[in-house]
């Protein structure tokens, strides 16, 4: 770990879950803070300023979307949602409120750590100056400065909307971008665009970038939630 002892705040009402997450975190060199309720979690977030928050959606005293909204009022720190496989709506709500990603129970320690690393990368210095050229797998190169997309060395023409969608996904790299976030980014806030339209453009984008559009490797669908760009398989 380049920066040892980064602090992760775990907000979960289940003691067993907190123990598991703490052990996993400490094994990977993080320092863990624990909070059993939303109120306690928000308090600790303000006093200890953690590097990342793991937030369970099923808290007894507040809904996860609400907690996210209150933290986002003053901080941009990464929030990773832990969901117990409830409805997609509650996940979408928290993500739209500004949570960075979600992970569904049950999950393994390795999976959790991978998500945490991606979320922390967003907050790290690398984020401030986005790479000029983004490599997606071995096949795709996206030149953000020149608005160029190369697939297996050949330039591919993208419609402006398609390019905007791709750029938004690049900004969310590794994390999920909800339908709403994509629509707002591409068509501008307050634009009442239908998810249906977004889906149609996504399909076109896949046909242009993916070798097997029906079995995508990079432009992944999170059914009921949004899309995710995967940089390497």
């Amino acid at each position: 770990m380049s920066e040892p002892h980064r602090v992760v705040l775990v907000i979960d009402d289940e003691a067993q879950m907190r123990i598991f997450v703490r052990i996993a975190l400490e094994a990977y060199g993080y320092q863990a803070l624990e909070a059993p309720t939303a109120a306690e979690g928000i308090r600790q977030a303000t006093t200890h300023m953690p590097d990342l928050i793991l937030l369970d959606l099923g808290l007894p005293d507040a809904d996860g979307g609400e907690v996210t909204r209150r933290i986002r009022e003053w901080s941009n720190l990464p929030i990773l949602i832990i969901s117990a496989g409830g409805t997609e709506a509650s996940k979408v709500r928290a993500l739209d409120e500004g949570a960075d990603d979600y992970i569904t129970k049950p999950f393994g320690a390795a999976e959790l750590m991978a998500r945490i690393r991606v979320a922390l990368r967003k907050a790290g210095p690398a984020r401030e100056v986005p790479a000029e050229v983004v490599h997606v797998g071995n096949d795709i190169r996206i030149d953000l400065a020149r608005h160029l997309v190369l697939v297996r060395g050949k330039e591919v023409h993208l419609a402006p909307i398609e390019y905007k969608i791709l750029a938004t996904l690049v900004r969310h790299t590794g994390r999920v971008a909800t339908h709403q976030q994509l629509i707002e980014n591409v068509w501008g806030p307050g634009q009442a665009q239908q998810v249906q339209t977004l889906r149609v453009y996504m399909t076109q984008l896949r046909h242009k970038l993916e070798r097997q559009p029906a079995r995508p490797k990079y432009l992944l669908t999170e059914t009921g939630i949004g899309y995710r760009l995967r940089l390497e398989v």
Binding site: G85, E88, P106, G108, H157, L158, A159, E162, Q194, V195, Q196, T197, R199, V200, Y201, M202, T203, Q204, R206, K208, Q212, P213, A214, R215, P216, L220, T221, E222, T223, G224
Partner: protein, 530 residues
């Protein structure tokens, strides 16, 4: 003898008056005709023959018309006989006092004739009526007896009652809380069935329930325009109440009508009783099936959940108790526990999905979207599972957007793909093919495994059914969930043999839902431009 009884006719009041007038008019005509006939044939000298002619007139009129006209014929005949044939002619004076006796005898004979004729006629009428009642009762019993559902039965009852009695009909049966409810009524009857009638029916129902039911009160001659309540009885006592609501021409006021009514009520009562018994039998079967299902679920769940739980508990306790010295054993134990826990998680998810599909509470949120995307999402989710497989996809380029719930259809695809991976040899190919078919879109998940035996083709979709019991796998809910979801979308799901070997699971999704033409146009235009 074709003139029907006035009372039985559907015609209104004015018709009856007209017919009565016709009777009296015929009486006058008949007497005039008798007089003329007697005058020209026999003249004043054959008085006995003349009397016969007049008596013939009495017979004719009394045969065809009622008591009144025949009485009039009798009187007019005597008067005409006296006036035209008894000297002095054309006067009401009587020269010979013996003729007074002749008049009396003639009048008496005319009276007797009209009496007797009327009785014969009434009997014929009654026989005809009874025949007709029997016929209509027979027709009613046939139709009511054959009615396949309670609704059909009630509708048939109401229609026949209206035809037979010229009355509106409402059937009242006890509802959930033993309170009577109108379960069927023709429109007029519903309108006319006021609070009072309902209350009276309720009262009668309760009374019967308590006393075992004296019926007489209800069918004793009712006042002309009052609704009439008749209890319905089945094999096990009272089943409900039949309410007759009077119309202009209803006809259940006499003994025959009431007898017919009783017979009809008995018929309807036993038919309703029959449907109730059938319902109960069906309910009992259903309960038995539910019970069986619950047992199957319990045994299945206890086996399929306990096995992995047992492994996890055992392995972890072994590690707690005395951790093995060598790293390799420790890892093996932990890997086993981990795999079993994952399997447990999968089982629980399937069970939860099943309860959603099963309770009929499955809310389908259809949105127009490309099938390609949801297929891609399902394949991504199963990336690890299908890593060693060759997965082919064949989706038409011009496939229109289809209305479906992406989360649910993704689940269907995942279940079908997991099944294919589970029951086919490792490394064998799996194909996902989409095609348009008669306005539906058909999705096929085909494998190169051993296929599904024809006998199992239906049963594989049944709850807890597993084609090959021992080959690991789930609780036998995956395909049941698929069926529930596809049916909720208005589609079909089935399995057939694949040409060249293997199983081909297919499901359809109807396309014919309101489509947003703008979006389709957008899509095409954009593709064309790029």
């Amino acid at each position: 003898m074709s003139v029907p009884s006035v009372r039985r006719e559907r015609s209104g009041l004015s018709g009856a008056v007209a017919r009565r007038a016709l009777g009296y008019f015929s009486a006058v005509v008949t007497v005039t005709a008798s007089t003329l006939l007697a005058w020209f044939v026999f003249g004043e000298w054959h008085l006995t023959d003349v009397v016969m002619v007049f008596l013939l007139g009495v017979v004719i009129v009394s045969m065809r018309f009622g008591y009144g006209p025949s009485l009039l014929v009798a009187v007019l005949s005597v008067v005409s006989f006296e006036f035209f044939f008894i000297p002095p002619l054309f006067s009401f004076e009587v020269a010979d006092p013996r003729h007074i006796v002749t008049f009396a005898v003639m009048f008496f004979v005319a009276l007797v004739i009209s009496h007797l004729t009327k009785r014969v006629r009434d009997q014929a009428d009654a026989v005809r009526l009874r025949e007709r009642n029997t016929a209509s009762l027979y027709a009613a019993s046939r139709e009511i007896g054959l009615a396949y559902s309670r609704e059909a039965l009630l509708a048939a009852s109401a229609r026949h009652a209206r035809e037979m009695f010229h009355a509106g009909v409402a059937v009242l049966l006890p509802g959930a809380n033993e309170k009577l409810q109108v379960v069927h009524a023709d429109d007029d009857a519903t309108l006319a069935l006021g609070q009072e009638v309902a209350a009276a029916a309720e009262g009668m129902w309760r009374h019967q329930r308590i006393t075992g039911g004296a019926v007489g009160a209800s069918t004793s001659a009712p006042a002309a325009r009052e609704p009439l309540l008749v209890p319905l009885r089945g094999s096990r006592g009272h089943v409900g109440v039949l309410a007759f609501l009077p119309t202009e021409t209803w006809n259940i006021l006499d003994a025959d009508g009431r007898a017919l009514l009783e017979a009809f009520a008995a018929l309807v009562g036993s038919a309703i009783d029959r449907t109730m018994l059938a319902d109960e039998a069906r309910g009992a079967t259903l309960r038995a099936e539910t019970e069986q299902l619950r047992n199957a679920l319990l045994s299945s769940v206890s086996h399929d959940l306990r096995t992995p739980l047992g492994v996890v508990t055992g392995v972890t306790s072994a590690l707690l108790d005395r951790a093995p010295k060598d790293e390799e054993t420790r890892r093996l134990l932990l890997t086993t526990a981990h795999e079993e826990a994952l399997r447990l998680s999968q089982l629980v998810r399937n069970l939860l999905d099943m309860t959603r599909v099963d309770a009929g509470a499955l809310s389908v949120r259809k949105e127009l979207q490309p099938l390609e995307e949801v297929i891609g999402a399902a394949l991504t989710r199963l990336e690890n599972r299908l890593r060693d497989r060759e997965v082919g996809t064949d989706i038409p380029e011009d496939l229109p957007l289809a209305p479906f719930d992406s989360i649910l259809i993704e689940q269907v695809l995942i279940n079908l793909l997991e099944n294919a991976a589970r029951y086919t040899p490792p490394g064998s190919a799996i194909d996902v093919v989409v095609r348009l078919h008669h306005g539906d879109v058909e999705v096929e998940v085909a494998d190169r495994g051993p296929g599904v035996p024809r006998d199992d083709a239906e049963r594989v979709f049944d709850k807890f059914y597993r084609a090959r019991e021992r080959e690991g796998g789930g609780v036998g809910l995956g395909l049941t969930i698929c069926r529930g979801v596809v049916l909720a979308h208005g589609g079909r799901i089935w399995v057939e043999d694949r040409r060249g070997g293997g199983a081909s699971f297919r499901f359809t999704l109807p396309l014919d839902e309101a489509r947003d033409p703008d979006e389709t146009v957008d899509f095409v235009a954009e593709r064309g431009a790029s």
